[in-house]
Symmetry: C2
Subunit: 410 residues, 2 copies
């Protein structure tokens, strides 16, 4: 067929995570690949009850078109909840309801990025953000990142040499994929740089409330006095992902652009779904549900860490996140996690190769493991399989390594 | 603030329809401006029942992430329904569930349009399509259009001189804004041109089943042997708009691009909403609901036509659509409908000025009237107000016209 597509479609590829998820849907596969919340935390019964109430009391409204900005009671709840839990001072007018926070990422690309503009991100960063933003054809510059977040001096140096830098993208709590959390000084340094350079920061915050231990630090948005931080929130990890309710919170001059972008993209998020969630938040206690979810996920994280400590050979390092859904594994430098994955799938265990999370590639000896979606005994068994495949891999590569070294030297 | 946005944001403007809707939400305003379906046609009770069933039987699935393509039973139903009612031969695999057909329009821009590419459209065309596609910075070329659709010779001439033509966008039944329906020969001519030129046709089909009289003609997609037609469908006008369930149906090579575009845009449409709709379609009779809606809208259209015949002064022409939600009014050439609207809003009646539906502007003496959202007595009263304001307008312009003519002549 001679149909011509836009040039951006040369770069937009199928998400590896979602393609792998398809391969691993056989029930015998223990998959650490997805980012699925535990369905036992979903309030299905309560949702049926609130749906009946919403449709009986306001069916004509719930099933009709409504405004792009979103359902006012839900916007109000979100503003209040952010202010209570994150130290922000946003109002309902600063909130736009989106179809998951993924839509917030797409709209970020739409409103900020011309072809060739530069996105600064953590290294590694969220694969879904890379995919969403790539459609707008930016260059990604990965800012050197350690266990405390982006290194401020490195960020400054990059900004000095990149006049087309348009936006800094960060996940400050329990980052996807690494599970890392930014320290308070790093948060202050980021907002100080943003203020001095007048560059917007997109703060993606899907996991902050999924905390197992320690005390929350203020959001970058809470430190923002200049309206430069765009906050992306979602109910996917604290309530359920299947309703696709997320939000953007930003100062009006920025939020208005997001509203325009969304108007063209899909007019509005479903009225009924917004009213269902708002009514749930009114009639039930989301906090109790989050507490229950955190207890479950905390147990699973502990199980995964114990299993990794037991099963991983020497030379393997991994993070010990205080919250979120993922941890991050660094394998010995010569292990290619993509090859390892193929061997693992044959043995019915799966993960996401970490190279996918680096927009400019490299770091193929890394992987992301999800611990939220299965009970501890399955985690134990999965990590056992993973360890066995990895040890075989290492034994084989040590056997051939001298030859390879000679070949390279020659 | 020194924040720099993408260049496309210079062109993306607030939709006039939605801004006007905000002005006209006072209950004393009779608004013919929106495109709202009648809420008395929404099956609120049935939806409460199916929601309870879905959540009781499959809550964990309904509230979880799912595939980008959509819920398989819903995709199957849509394929079957299209084949039954439109003469197509699509399969479930050809269907992608979207957040309303508006998202299908946004994805069309994303996958086909580089800056400066050309979109061919009817003249006038749907404002929401203009807004969605404009974000991708194309040039719009309006193809001369009469009561039977685009004029084939004009389309060919334009394609001869526009090498960057990427896509032809049409609404073939009860078009928004004109209410016109393409004749069968014009449908054949369009698909023949598309085939010869290998140019994709995007066939937007929100209203086909909202037919008050006459017999349906085959969809352009039904005449397509080469996989060149992208069909955009929606449940908004035959079920309810507040759940935002639409679809794209296209041959796999095209559909795969839409799937990739959607993956970046919002991962997937809400699982629960898809399962609610699918279950409604299984347990209830959508056809009966459509029949009821058509009876209501047919009565309202008749009321509006009678009122216009009674109230409009000489020199006003309007369409008499056999279906859909809108009719189109051409005022005397010297009436500016945007000015008329301001006077009308003071008298508590509203419409959308027709100039908004021409991407290259002009035609300011036109307006779109919606007849689906209010009972006949309100339509009568609204058209009476409209006629009164218009007659005053004409009297004033005739009083000053000779002077203006002299000024122009001088």
């Amino acid at each position: 067929m001679a149909v011509r597509f836009a040039q951006r479609m040369n770069e937009v590829k199928a998400s590896e995570i979602r393609e792998i998820l398809k391969l691993t849907q056989r029930p015998e596969v223990i998959s650490f690949a997805g980012g699925l919340p535990a369905p036992e935390t979903f309030p299905a019964e309560e949702l049926a009850a609130v749906t009946a109430r919403v449709l009986a009391e306001s069916g004509a409204h719930a099933l009709q078109y409504s405004t792009t900005e979103g359902y006012p009671p839900l916007r109000r709840w979100i503003a209040g909840h952010m202010n209570d839990t994150l130290g922000t001072t946003v109002t309902a007018d600063d909130v736009l309801i989106t179809s998951g926070s993924q839509q917030g990422l797409d709209l970020t690309g739409k409103i900020f990025l011309d072809e060739g503009d530069v996105v600064l991100c953590e290294s590694p960063t969220y694969l879904g953000a890379i995919n969403a933003l790539r459609a707008y054809r930016p260059r990604f510059v990965e800012v050197p990142t350690d266990d405390d977040g982006m290194i401020p001096e490195a960020l400054e140096t990059i900004l000095d040499r990149e006049p087309r830098a348009k936006v800094v993208y960060v996940i400050r709590d329990f980052q996807n994929p690494t599970g890392r959390t930014w320290s308070l000084p790093r948060r202050h340094a980021l907002i100080e740089t943003a203020r001095r350079r007048q560059i917007p920061v997109v703060e993606d915050c899907p996991y902050a409330e999924v905390r197992f231990e320690g005390v929350p630090l203020p959001a970058v948005k809470a430190l923002d006095k200049d309206g430069l931080v765009v906050f992306l929130g979602t109910f996917s990890k604290i309530f359920c992902p299947g309703m696709r309710i997320g939000w953007v919170a930003a100062a009006r001059p920025l939020l208005e652009k997001y509203v325009l972008g969304k108007q063209g993209a899909d007019l509005q998020t479903a009225t009924l779904a917004q009213m269902q969630v708002a009514r749930y938040l009114k009639d039930y206690d989301l906090g109790a549900n989050i507490k229950r979810a955190c207890a479950i996920y905390g147990t699973r994280r502990a199980a995964m860490i114990r299993a990794l400590e037991r099963e991983m050979p020497d030379g393997v390092r991994f993070t010990r996140p205080a919250g979120g859904l993922f941890l991050w594994v660094e394998l010995p430098a010569d292990v290619d996690a993509r090859e390892l994955l193929l061997a693992c799938i044959e043995r019915n265990v799966a993960f996401v190769p970490g190279g996918s999370f680096f927009p400019n590639r490299g770091h193929e000896n890394t992987m992301r493991l999800n611990f939220s979606n299965m009970p501890p005994d399955r985690i134990d068994e999965g990590v056992r399989r993973l360890g066995a495949v990895l040890r075989e891999f290492l034994a084989r590569s040590q056997a051939v390594a001298p030859l390879e070294h000679e070949a390279v030297a020659g």
